[in-house]
């Protein structure tokens, strides 16, 4: 029993049309480019440099660091009092704001939430800008008491109208400094000085400070991950 011959119309169903020959070349290009494109897309697209740098959430009060820390020249530690002692550079209590704003602009509508918080003893809901993953433990006091300036991680906050994230805060970025802290070391007295310039080449100066103060940042996992 042989196979019955297929009609030409039926046969056509199984034959690629002529233009399909071109797709072979195109597919080669496509297969070559797509993985590179996707890798690059994810590499850069999902990198903290893309996703996190520049994050600037809307705050409940239009507080200007540029005005307070820049123009008026308040030291960072006037508000962030705990930075030298504890892990957190704590957000100041409303009381700190009211030290001045009882007399300065006491009726400004922009400051209404502050006065409200002070009167009702409730918290001002500030939005967190620098948010590390939950499995990473960062300690402010360990850095500022060794001579790492605020500006090294937070950028020129004294020029920011509204605070945004300046650095990626990724693990690679942390390790860059833990491997070679001399890039960022400065005298402990100058940590809050946003416009400090090294008296000589930063690397030479940093290396000297590193030797003098015995700065040996650890690169062990448990330094930050617990």
């Amino acid at each position: 029993m042989g196979l019955s011959p297929l009609s030409i119309t039926t046969m056509k169903l199984f034959v690629f049309p002529r233009w399909a020959n071109k797709t072979r070349q195109l597919a080669g290009v496509f297969l070559g480019v797509t993985p590179v494109y996707l890798t690059a897309l994810i590499w850069y697209g999902a990198s903290p440099k893309t996703t996190d740098v520049g994050y600037q959430p809307k705050q409940p009060i239009p507080y200007s660091h540029a005005l307070h820390a820049g123009e008026l020249g308040l030291d960072c530690r006037y508000c962030h009092t705990t930075v030298e002692e504890t892990g957190h550079a704590a957000i100041p209590p409303t009381e700190t704001c009211m030290n001045c704003h009882k007399v300065v602009h006491p009726t400004s509508p922009k400051l209404l939430p502050i006065r409200e918080s002070y009167a009702t003893n409730s918290a001002v809901p500030w939005v967190k800008v620098h948010d590390l993953p939950d499995y990473a433990y960062f300690n402010h006091s360990a850095h500022v008491t060794r001579g790492i300036g605020c500006v090294s991680c937070h950028g020129r906050v004294d020029q920011m109208e509204e605070v945004y994230q300046h650095e990626s805060l990724s693990m690679g970025w942390c390790l860059d400094c833990h491997r070679a802290p001399e890039q960022h070391l400065r005298p402990v007295s100058e940590v809050t000085n946003m416009s400090w310039k090294p008296p000589e080449d930063q690397l030479t100066y940093g290396k000297r400070l590193r030797a003098e103060n015995n700065i040996a940042p650890s690169q062990d996992c448990s330094t930050c991950h617990r």
Binding site: A46, D52, P125, V127, Y137
Partner: protein, 1018 residues
């Protein structure tokens, strides 16, 4: 490798000793399946859900996770540094005895309990029960408000409604005070005593009953018999050269003085440079002190009277005190058995040779006559002022009489109002009392309790009780020191303390707990400065009870019942039952604590439930196998539960732990209203008014069916090859010697294993300059109490996995306490060995991780990096110590319903978040974890020290297990500092590492166990 010394054969369980099929199955599969072959699925893994949320969050908000809010204080209180832990002294009272504690609080949120190092009795130690306090605080099952009974239903009521009701009822109580009864927790609180007086004055004729679910009467009755007045005995075990324990639970968490006793015992067990104590134990069931003992005799509890009478007769005749109330030698046949006679002879000789340095401890369950005999002998052996002191305690009505009178009064209609303060008598009172039925007859019953428990459900009013960490209070420590309890947090559910409720009822002008406690101590703490000092320290210094001088009266000759003349018989109808408070749930009050439910019971290693303990011999005689479901009956009452063969259990004696089988504990311990089955079986149903905790003439019958006992004793077995290796090595894991052998060859432990010089194939990657962390564990001090396990769980956010997962070998506890037996199953010797991660310098786990998730630090820690781990479990397979634990499920995050993509809004779930230690990562599914040497504590101390450029003092860093250990068996510190305690311990001749021949170079060293046997008993 060969062993030079003949070593005893050690075994972990009877199943292993007999190689029964259950154990074979455990061997074949490293992570066994449940016995009934069920597929495992507590909490269905929801991979799709994850993808859905992922997709949605990408679409909506890009890659940025949810917005976090920072909520600063409006006015920051002085001294508060956000995110910085603060520590406060407080106390917890259990069984009328206070333990001084220090609680660590983050931003107003208590997360960790420790013993208070300043406190004269706790001295820095705490038990598992104390450690689990924080979990209880954040228990979502705690009652949220006042409820009242309307018809058959319970309805919520506002505090104002309750207060109105009280105001309306008060005139009635004043005019008919004799119809008011108060059933209050047995307490030593001076404020409560003062409040009681106010209450009884306000409502003249009212009656007050001190209630305790566990035995407390016998010691007082015994001292009354012996000295004429009730006394509290305070033991100084560190001064004792000879300790005899007769059925005592000393060093256990159920003993109110357990922490002091554990410490005292450990201090006497140092074999270097000082004479070492010798401990004898006579007991019906294994106990912690039985584990320490150099000589242990299994003897049924009923025979204790005859045993002590024989000892009394023997000692009195030798001390020339025969005429003055000494017992005649009892005519008990068992005393003539060679093993017992030899034991008594050696003991007598030791006690006589160590007058002034000998002490007898007797379990609280034994009758007053036995207590009297023991105290008489303590005095006779010149122990007073040296190994024991006595102070007078107030005379109390005996529990049995008080309860009987109460129920009779209720039945006769003489009681209209009943207050139940912090107790659960519906569950815990003897069943023949008929308390539940009586309670229903009372017109107004007010139950003050943390949970809407069995008693609260039947009461006309239920008022939430403040948690010990939420209320002001005071109480006496074991030595009489007035100990203050301060709240760490405002009551989460509007709870009131016992003092506050009584103040409201009695219309006391002072309603606030703080004011009430201050008023009590106004005399001794006249000014703010003195008060502040006392609150800071947690106790009022110099208030230790003055030791009373005692004279022993002439004791009558005690009659011995027929059952007391025989030493247990494994025949039905003649068995004895010992009902004991549980070392985990105590009298049942901690039944809803999942940490405690999952904690392996120190001796049976059972988790999640209780079982009837019987000796293998009794099991064989009555054809009851391990795990068989049995019916235990005594005096017409019955209980069904699984049987557990326990080595060292006296023949014919059964032991059942109390506090299980609850139907209104909560979603963990059992909740009938939510169809949550009780954990374990309620042994209170066997308890009778006349014989509450020691029952005779009982029987046991096997039922059809078996019940899986979630025991961790055989977990982490490897396979047949591994088992052969284990058998070969076990004697080398536990280095033990007698004192005499030790003195001849102090470094015997180092010579147990002979191996060629150990050389590594590669150079050390790190030099260990700077710090080099190490730990030493003294097996001679360790009592096996397991407080370290719960401390580790609280510190390191270790999840609870549940009974099914424990049965599959998936328990997560980082620190385990291995328990080994040696010798015969009838009377074995016990050895405990806590096993944390050994932090090997040449670590097998590090070498096999394909993703670098476990890395070696420059200080010698095996760092575990959760965010790198992909869950291959190679490290666990390659770990010879089996200390790594794998998150098979999202144990924590599923329970609190947390994902990185959505904010939790459910209040109860948020409450459960609060117990997490913010210093430690909360791990998710698919991640390996293990002991880190409490790296968060190391880092925090290092940062603090470096900030001010100082060096770290020895002892400044304490791991959680070390800190809580009542016996101070664990030392931790820097091995590079030769003066540190741990370096000294490592340098001791009896220090050894386990599996050293594998060249892992572990950083944990054990100090060998030294036994001090009597030469005659060997």
């Amino acid at each position: 490798m060969n062993a030079k010394h003949p070593r005893p054969t050690y075994w972990r369980s009877l199943a292993e000793l007999d190689q029964d099929p259950k154990f074979q199955q455990m061997l074949a599969t490293e992570f066994p399946e449940p016995l009934d072959g069920r597929e495992m699925a507590p909490g269905t893994p929801a991979r799709r859900r994850f993808l859905q949320i992922m997709g949605a969050s990408f679409a909506l908000g890009g890659c940025r996770f949810q917005e976090d809010k920072l909520l600063p204080f409006s006015r920051r209180p002085e001294g508060v540094l956000p995110g910085e832990p603060r520590r406060f002294a407080t106390a917890m009272e259990l069984g009328g005895v206070a333990t001084g504690l220090v609680v660590t609080s983050y931003d107003g949120r208590p997360v960790k309990v420790e013993g208070s190092p300043l406190h004269p009795t706790s001295g820095g130690g705490a038990s598992s029960l104390h450690q689990a306090l924080v979990l209880g605080l954040y228990d979502p099952d705690r009652s949220e408000g006042i409820t009242r009974l309307q018809g058959q239903a319970r309805v919520a009521a506002l505090p104002a409604q309750f207060e109105e009701f009280v105001a309306a009822e008060r005139p009635n109580w004043q005019s008919r005070g004799s119809s008011v009864r108060v059933l209050s927790s047995l307490s030593s609180s001076p404020s409560l005593a003062a409040m009681k007086q106010r209450f009884l004055t306000a409502f003249a004729g009212a009656k007050w009953i001190d209630y305790s679910a566990v035995e407390t009467d016998n010691l007082e009755a015994g001292t009354t018999l012996c000295f004429g007045k009730p006394h509290q005995a305070v033991y100084q075990l560190e001064n004792a050269r000879i300790v005899l324990s007769v059925h005592s639970d000393v060093a256990s968490s159920t003993d109110p003085a357990g922490i002091v006793a554990g410490r005292g015992l450990a201090r006497g067990r140092v074999p270097e440079g000082q004479p070492m104590s010798r401990v004898y134990a006579v007991e019906s069931s294994l106990s912690l002190i039985g584990g320490i003992a150099d000589h242990r005799l299994s003897m049924s509890a009923g025979s204790a009277k005859a045993f002590l009478a024989a000892l009394d007769a023997e000692l009195s005749s030798k001390l020339g005190d025969a005429g003055k109330g000494a017992q005649p030698k009892p005519a008990a046949k068992f005393l003539a058995e060679p093993s017992i006679a030899k034991f008594i002879a050696a003991l007598t000789q030791d006690l006589l040779a160590n007058r002034g340095a000998a002490v007898l401890l007797v379990g609280s369950r034994l009758p007053p006559e036995v207590q009297a005999l023991a105290q008489r002998l303590n005095v006779l052996l010149d122990g007073v002022g040296r190994t024991v002191t006595y102070h007078e305690v107030p005379v109390r009505e005996r529990r049995k009489d008080a309860l009987q009178a109460l129920v009779q009064d209720i039945q006769a209609g003489r009681v209209e109002t009943l207050l139940v303060l912090g107790e659960n008598p519906v569950l815990t009172a003897p069943t023949d009392l008929g308390f539940a039925a009586a309670l229903a007859k009372v017109k107004t019953s007010i139950a003050l309790s943390e949970f809407e428990d069995e008693t609260a459900l039947l009461s006309s009013w239920h008022v939430p009780l403040a948690h010990p960490l939420e209320a002001w209070g005071d109480s006496l420590a074991h030595d009489g020191t007035i100990t203050l309890a301060q709240p760490l947090i405002a009551p989460l559910f509007g709870g009131r303390s016992v003092l506050e409720l009584l103040a409201l009822l009695a219309n006391d002008p002072k309603r606030d707990g703080l004011e009430i406690v201050r008023r009590t101590h106004a005399g001794s703490l006249p000014n703010q400065k003195a008060w502040d000092r006392a609150v800071h320290d947690g106790f009022i210094s110099g208030t230790m009870a003055a030791p009373a001088s005692v004279t022993v009266g002439v004791l009558p000759t005690f009659a011995l019942a027929e059952s007391e003349l025989r030493n247990g018989e494994a025949s039905n109808g003649k068995l004895e039952i010992v009902l004991a408070p549980d070392s985990k749930v105590y009298d049942g009050r901690f039944g809803n604590s999942s940490w405690l439910q999952e904690l392996p019971e120190p001796l049976s290693k059972q988790t999640w439930g209780n079982a009837v303990w019987l000796s293998p011999g009794t099991g064989k005689a009555l054809s009851i196998a391990d795990g068989d479901l049995v019916k235990v009956s005594a005096a017409g009452k019955e209980l069904t539960l699984p049987a557990l063969h326990v080595p060292g259990q006296a023949e014919g004696s059964l032991r059942i732990a109390l506090g299980y089988g609850r139907y209104a504990a909560g979603h963990v311990g059992g909740l009938a209203s939510a169809n949550v089955d009780p954990v374990g079986a309620n042994a209170y149903v066997l308890s009778a008014l006349g014989a509450p905790f020691l029952l005779s003439d009982a029987s046991i019958t096997r039922l059809d069916g078996r019940q899986a006992i979630a025991s961790v004793q055989d977990l982490h077995a490897i396979d047949a090859v591994g088992q052969a290796g284990i058998d070969e090595r076990r004697g080398l894991l536990l280095a033990e010697a007698n004192l005499e052998e030790f003195q001849k060859e102090p470094d015997f432990a180092k010579h147990l294993v002979h191996h060629p010089p150990l050389e590594s194939m590669w150079n050390d990657p790190v030099s260990y300059e700077g710090h080099k962390w190490g730990m030493a564990i003294d097996l001679n001090k360790c009592t096996g109490c397991s407080a370290c396990i719960t401390a580790c769980q609280a510190e390191n956010n270790i999840p609870v996995v549940g009974k099914d997962s424990v049965l599959m070998g998936r328990e997560m506890l980082w620190l385990r306490v291995d328990r080994y037996f040696s010798g015969s199953p009838e009377n074995p010797k016990l050895s405990f060995q806590p096993v944390p991660c050994q932090q090997c310098e040449n670590a097998p786990c590090e070498q096999v991780c394909p993703v670098g998730a476990t890395m070696h630090s420059h200080e010698g820690l095996n760092d575990m990096v959760y965010n790198r781990c992909i869950g291959t479990r190679y490290c666990s397979a390659n770990c010879p110590y089996k200390v790594r634990r794998f998150n098979y499920l999202n144990f924590h995050l599923d329970k609190v319903e947390a994902t990185p993509f959505q904010t939790v809004t459910n209040k109860k779930k948020l409450l459960m978040h609060m117990v997490f230690n913010p210093e430690v990562t909360v791990r998710a599914r698919g991640v390996m974890e293990k002991c880190t040497f409490c790296v968060q504590r190391i880092q925090n101390v290092k940062i603090k020290a470096k900030n001010v450029k100082r060096s770290i003092a020895d002892g400044e860093i304490k791991t959680a297990c070390q800190q809580t250990c009542p016996a101070s068996a664990i030392t931790f510190g820097d091995l590079n500092d030769p003066t540190s305690l741990v370096a000294k311990d490592h340098a001791l001749p009896r220090a050894y590492s386990i599996l050293e021949e594998l060249n892992n170079r572990p950083r944990v060293r054990y100090l060998a166990r030294i036994r001090n046997p009597h030469p005659e008993l060997g």
